[in-house]
């Protein structure tokens, strides 16, 4: 899977699920936590979505904000994880 594809899926999910608007422009580098787009409840939703979509499980030490704080951070982290699984 290409990284761009992951970025698009993550970005669409975040727009629809947290901003209720698929057409909204969201900067791929914006901090999702500091901007309040994702809160503690949202974290759970996001992680469940990624685990279900990509049929993967995150270990505890992967659940740090650095890996999830922006759309780019998420897709980078996810891309690398999926590469390693292969």
């Amino acid at each position: 899977m290409h990284k761009e594809e992951i970025t698009l899926i993550v970005s669409n999910y975040i727009k629809k699920n947290f901003l209720f608007d698929e057409k909204k422009e969201v900067d791929n580098d914006i901090s999702l936590y500091q901007s309040g787009i994702i809160d503690s409840m949202g974290t759970i939703e996001l992680i469940s979505f990624l685990e279900n979509t990509y049929k993967i499980r995150f270990d505890d030490d992967e659940l740090i904000a650095e890996n999830f704080d922006s759309i780019n951070a998420i897709s980078n982290f996810l891309y690398n994880k999926l590469q390693n699984i292969k």
Binding site: S40, T43, D60, D61
Partner: protein, 673 residues
């Protein structure tokens, strides 16, 4: 307490209003005062009064006049120190024909002019009409406990306790103000003097407004929130040691409670939430009278909101006659339309609904007045936001620190079991602008930012016309020395001037109480108590992260330690979960339907549908709604209440009728004048 309304046309060729018009107007306020109705009318003015008889039941009818019938008043509220003022006025040779506080206002105005309002200890919304000088005077109490709305157009002024009375006039255009929505979807309320409706304003709290025949309008501020610069607090500290301050505060609170329990010709009950504030008020209320003592409580079926255990403790200690009502989620959606009919403002939480249900219980128990603990959290620094501000300020002293943000876990324990506890990285949210201490919104930026994302649900065409910056509105209501004050006091001022005034004591206070003809009386809002508290150093109220410490000190030995030491539970009710069931109430599905959303054209139907389905999904997994986020809850309730408001006030006209029997009729219309 009561309802007041009127219409004044200042022009020389003014036509008198019809009795029918006055009946219609007052009929919308029947819930505020079902006991008696009265009107005054001359060629320029029509005033109406709906009375809830509490003081001087036999002769306190309104409209009431001075001795020579030139000054006419309609008044909603209580002047608690009226007996003391009456004596002073009698010494100045004023003659009284009634035993009411209303008459004291008239004579006080004659004696002291507009300065009279600085002498009142009470809660009031007043309209006075001077028919000789063609002068109209409005006044509202210090913090705005009682509502008063006005509309000005050409030479005419409309006023009323509730906006619906003004809307009975076919001449008045009914329109939702989109800037009001922008404000509510940021601050939870409009900022004074704005209201939900275009062209309708409120009289600002602590303010008197005078309209003269020549079209002149003058505003006089009779009370202002006043905090000292931090450099001055040492003097107050020297004046009162903590112990002396506690002693003094206890006496002032006792006096305030006594005035509110005993200055009534009907019995006064007490609300009991199970928290510290209402427990102290109920305990003090109990001290003021022997014999029976009545208490009222809300219980929640949903355990996360319920406080029954603590209520029971207090009831057995006070040995009170206790009435309680168990609120279920379904009850909330069943009364919610009525709730919004009374708030006249969109709300972002369902929390007012149980208070609507509680005031019905009070009314059904034949009580007309209750004391409550309102105001303690604002004036004694009880809310989380004050502690949060303190922590963010502490973090800003060493922005790189990874240890300092850990304090947030003390405030928000869920952070400790968050998935992100590792590396302290979950604190990013609280770091937003946290080093910018000179922002006026420093304390509230996180809350306002999160809330303002609701604006995104509005249609594109509404969003295009919104204001870039709402901070101007905020700046306008702040004291001049605002930025010189400690960030915690600044947070307190914002909280009091915005959320407290526009939501807590109105949408969740007066409007819910008066929906069932119940008058609220609030010892913590006694003006002597407020002024005293505002001059005490912060650390008498908030030390470290321990809140309301001076009140806890007073409470010690009076109410159970368990209540004093329990972790503060914010008053809340289930939100979106109160509306989504297998078979929701018809109005809920209707208000969220694509057809109605399109028809009302306030919200974007696609976005709302995504939100609705998301909430629906979460409820089907977890009926208690615990999976629904704070933002989703606020958006859901905000959208539903806005839709209902539009439906009841714009699409339809608020209900009114002419089925009114006036018992006080003052007609001064001059034929062929």
């Amino acid at each position: 307490m009561c309802g007041i309304a009127g219409k004044i046309d200042f022009s020389d060729k003014a036509e008198p209003v019809s009795i029918e018009f006055l009946k219609n107007m007052v009929s919308t306020l029947r819930h505020r005062g079902p006991d008696e109705f009265g009107y005054y009318r001359d060629n320029n003015a029509g005033l109406v009064h709906a009375r809830l008889s509490i003081i001087d039941i036999t002769s306190g009818q309104q409209p009431m006049s001075n001795e020579n019938n030139t000054l006419w008043i309609v008044f909603n509220g209580e002047i608690f120190n009226y007996l003391e003022l009456r004596k002073i006025l009698q010494n100045h040779n004023h003659k009284f024909k009634t035993k009411s506080d209303t008459e004291v206002i008239l004579h006080a105005y004659e004696q002291w002019g507009l300065d009279c309002f600085t002498k009142f200890n009470g809660q009031w919304a007043i309209a006075m009409w001077d028919n000789q000088n063609k002068k109209l005077i409005f006044s509202r109490d210090h913090v705005g406990i009682l509502p008063l709305f006005i509309k000005e157009e050409n030479n005419t002024i409309w006023f009323a306790s509730e906006i619906k009375a003004i809307f009975t006039d076919p001449e008045v255009k009914r329109e939702i103000d989109i800037f009001a929505l922008q404000q509510i979807f940021t601050f939870w309320t409009t900022i004074t003097p704005y209201t939900t409706f275009s062209g309708i304003f409120e009289i600002k709290p602590g303010t008197t407004v005078v309209y003269s025949a020549n079209g002149k309008k003058q505003e006089h501020i009779h009370w202002k929130l006043n905090f000292q610069d931090p450099s001055n607090t040492s003097t107050t500290k020297n004046k009162y040691s903590f112990k002396d301050a506690a002693k003094e505060l206890e006496q002032k609170l006792l006096d305030a409670t006594k005035l509110r329990m005993l200055r009534a010709d009907v019995p006064v009950g007490s609300y009991l939430s199970g928290g510290l504030d209402s427990s102290v008020v109920a305990w003090m209320g109990r001290q003021t009278k022997s014999g029976t003592f009545q208490t009222f409580s809300i219980r929640f079926e949903d355990q996360q909101f319920d406080e029954t255990r603590y209520q029971k403790m207090l009831v057995s200690m006070l040995n009170s006659n206790h009435e309680e009502i168990l609120v279920k989620k379904r009850d909330i959606s069943q009364v919610f339309q009525e709730v919004i009919y009374h708030t006249e403002k969109p709300i972002l939480r369902a929390a007012p609904a149980p208070l609507f249900i509680l005031s019905k219980l009070v009314h059904d128990s034949n009580f007309k007045a209750v004391v409550t603990g309102e105001g303690a959290d604002e004036f004694l620094l009880g809310y989380d936001i004050f502690r949060e501000t303190k922590i963010r300020q502490f973090m800003s002293n060493q922005p790189e620190s990874r240890i300092r943000p850990l304090l947030l876990q003390r405030l928000y324990p869920y952070l400790t079991d968050s998935l992100f506890k590792a590396k302290g990285a979950s604190f990013e949210f609280w770091k937003k602008n946290f080093t910018e201490l000179n922002r006026i919104d420093y304390s509230h930026i996180l809350r306002w930012d999160t809330t303002s994302k609701i604006i995104n649900f509005l249609t594109d065409s509404i969003q295009m016309h919104l204001q870039d910056d709402l901070m101007e509105l905020v700046r306008d209501i702040l004291p001049e020395n605002f930025l010189k004050l400690d960030p915690v006091i600044r947070a307190q001022i914002l909280e009091i001037m915005i959320l407290f005034s526009g939501y807590i004591i109105s949408s969740q206070g007066d409007r819910m109480l008066m929906s069932h003809s119940v008058e609220g009386r609030f010892p913590f809002l006694d003006i002597d108590v407020i002024n005293f508290l505002n001059h005490l150093p912060i650390d008498y109220k908030l030390i470290g992260l321990d809140e309301k410490i001076i009140l806890k000190h007073i409470a010690k030995g009076k109410i159970p330690d368990e209540i004093i030491n329990r972790k503060k539970q914010p008053y809340r009710a289930p939100d979106a979960a109160s509306f989504i069931f297998d078979k929701p109430e018809d109005y809920v599905t209707e208000m969220f339907s694509e057809k109605i959303l399109k028809d009302f054209a306030i919200f974007n139907p696609e976005k709302v549908s995504i939100l609705y389905n998301k909430c629906l999904n979460k409820i089907s997994n977890n009926p208690d709604g615990s999976q629904i986020s704070n933002f989703e809850n606020m958006s859901f309730v905000g959208i539903l209440s806005t839709q209902l408001l539009y439906y009841m006030f714009i699409k339809n006209k608020p209900r009114y009728n002419n089925n009114i029997n006036f018992t006080t009729k003052i007609d001064m219309v001059k034929e062929n004048a």
